[in-house]
């Protein structure tokens, strides 16, 4: 768990990068720092592993003020993906990944095994192991950067725009892969981006930065439902509702399977037609992982007034137009009367 308490950082040249920032990252969750360029995201991140020390306030890791911790130990226990990737160009991919395990003195066999594991995890072919970073594509380099940060199983992971310099398709794929990895590794993650969509997708919680300060710190849903001020609303953009549909799982809006739509979904419940990721339209049934956006998309394409949500061959709910509409009403007090 990471805690910022009234933290201010002024650089020696007089630039105040952040002022009076407070928030905390629960153990095992992901908090995303998002905001425009130069608002202090990288600075905030560097305060965690003491690449910078605060001018005022405290940053604590697992309840201890991090200035009381040995900075070298702290950094070795904190995975760090730096914004510029910063791979060691004179070392092979394998050596890059092995950096921290080597520093903390793992034996060769264990390092070897770990490197292989991470190449697999990051979907890098094992042939890359003996290649130099200059021989890799931008996306592959970013994966190596993430693998290097994960190598010694850190308790805390700091990721500074890890998917920054990628085309939208590769970025989307890496994000999805990383969401899977995240479920498996149970690490406390601080993730920086300037892309609000990435923040909404990756974060359990989001801290929105304006120049030097946190304007809103909340869950993605809460931020979409109730942007605190105009800056946040502007930052989210016009298509707030769509964004919310995208991050809400169908299971949150669906109605009971035996209700008024029981007849409409009859015959549509064949388990084999259910899709996992929501990217295929072969079947009419939804899977519990699908977003409400995917559900709406399929409702619009389908003749049926409602679609079943199927898990392991069993209908666990049903989604119709009204459920989606109602979910907005349920969350936004202002619209409660209208629905």
């Amino acid at each position: 768990m990471i805690e910022f308490e009234n933290v201010t950082k002024t650089y020696p040249d007089g630039t105040t990068a952040i002022e009076n920032v407070s928030f905390s990252v629960e153990a095992g969750t992901t908090t995303v720092l998002v905001g425009p360029s130069g608002c202090g995201k990288t600075t905030t991140m560097k305060l965690v592993n003491r690449l910078e020390d605060p001018t005022d306030g405290t940053v604590s890791v697992d309840g201890t003020d991090n200035r009381e911790l040995d900075e070298i130990d702290l950094r070795r226990n904190t995975g760090y993906v730096i914004q510029e990737i910063g791979l060691f160009d004179h070392r092979t991919v394998g050596e890059n990944i092995a950096t921290v395990p080597k520093l903390v003195g793992w034996d060769d066999e264990r390092i070897d095994e770990r490197v292989r594991e991470l190449l697999d995890l990051m979907d890098l072919s094992r042939g890359f192991r003996d290649q130099y970073p200059s021989e890799l594509s931008g996306g592959q380099r970013q994966r190596v950067g993430v693998a290097r940060a994960l190598a010694a199983d850190p308790d805390v992971l700091l990721m500074d725009e890890p998917f920054g310099a990628l085309d939208p398709i590769t970025r989307d794929r890496l994000q999805n892969e990383f969401l899977d990895i995240q479920e498996r590794i149970n690490t406390t993650i601080l993730f920086v981006t300037h892309d609000i969509d990435e923040a909404l997708k990756m974060g359990d919680r989001i801290a929105i930065f304006d120049v030097g300060e946190v304007v809103q710190y909340d869950t993605p849903q809460a931020i979409l439902d109730d942007p605190k001020n105009e800056f946040v609303a502007d930052f989210i953009g016009e298509d707030r509702s769509f964004k919310r549909l995208d991050i809400t799982p169908v299971t949150e809006v669906m109605g009971p399977p035996d209700g008024e739509y029981a007849a409409a979904i009859d015959g549509n419940t064949d388990a084999t037609t259910a899709t996992d990721g929501g990217s295929s339209y072969d079947g009419e049934a939804l899977s519990p992982d699908d977003s409400v956006k995917a559900a709406l998309d399929r409702l619009l394409r389908s003749d049926a007034p409602a679609l079943p949500v199927v898990e392991n061959g069993e209908v666990i709910g049903v989604v119709a137009d009204e459920h989606i509409r109602a979910s907005f009403g349920r969350r936004s007090d202002a619209r409660q009367g209208a629905t």
């Binding site: 130990d73 950094r75 070795r76 760090y80 730096i82 510029e84 791979l87 160009d89 950096t99 921290v100």
Partner: protein, 239 residues
């Protein structure tokens, strides 16, 4: 007594070749002497200059002073330095090596400093973020990446050293300079020309050899470079 022979260039060159052939044994001996002085200088000068260069990266003020002093050292005429050192070190190679060590400092210190501080900041910052100590960053990141640049400085120094070592013969250090001074005394142009060419060829050969090593270091660092023929050869043999 400088003999101005009216002969054409061909017969001139023929004379030099004949001179070289007749004195082959002596030339080899002089080459050995010249090489020993050069090698002694490099062995002493390089570690000293690298230590000074590394130290300079820790402190800007120190860097300025060290580079300034090394620059001054290069401006002192070698003959004057030999004269000043003879009372302390005697004649022969010791005062010459001492002088050459001084002359070697600037290129190696400068390249060490530039090489170490020129390492991409994102790379050293990554090293810091991953928990490397300053020493570990120096040893595992900065020095390996800067090594080709440092070696380029050594190359530079060696060429200077081979040239200036010639003057050392004046105070009895030996080497190709002996032949040049003999030639001057006896008015033997052939001796002077052959010795001069020998010094140049020696310097170029050493320079080429070191340049090849420099390229191999760059390749080992994963750099993408245009390879010399010699580099391609060695790289292929090593691979």
């Amino acid at each position: 007594m400088l003999s101005s022979s009216p002969a054409g260039p061909i017969s001139l060159a023929g004379g030099y070749v004949r001179f070289a052939a007749e004195n082959a044994e002596a030339l080899v001996e002089l080459l050995v002497e010249h090489s020993v002085i050069t090698a002694e200088t490099v062995v002493i000068a390089t570690p000293l200059a690298i230590v000074l260069g590394v130290a300079s990266t820790y402190n800007d003020r120190l860097a300025t002073v060290v580079l300034w002093l090394a620059g001054i050292a290069m401006t002192i005429p070698s003959l004057a330095l030999f004269g000043l050192l003879i009372p302390f070190l005697g004649i022969g190679s010791p005062p010459v090596v001492f002088t050459l060590v001084l002359y070697s400092q600037l290129p190696v210190i400068r390249n060490t400093y530039v090489g170490l501080t020129g390492v991409d900041e994102s790379i050293t910052e990554a090293g810091r973020g991953l928990g490397m100590t300053r020493r570990q960053r120096l040893r595992r990141i900065q020095i390996p990446i800067a090594l080709p640049v440092i070696l380029a400085g050594v190359r530079n120094a060696v060429v200077i050293v081979i040239g200036v070592a010639t003057v050392g013969a004046y105070i009895g250090a030996g080497g190709f300079g002996d032949l040049i001074f003999d030639g001057i005394r006896q008015g033997n142009v052939e001796a002077i020309v052959v010795a001069t060419i020998a010094v140049s060829v020696f310097a170029l050969a050493v320079d080429y050899g070191l340049a090849t090593i420099e390229q191999l270091l760059r390749l080992r660092n994963g750099d993408d470079i245009e390879r010399k023929t010699s580099t391609q050869l060695v790289w292929r043999v090593l691979a």
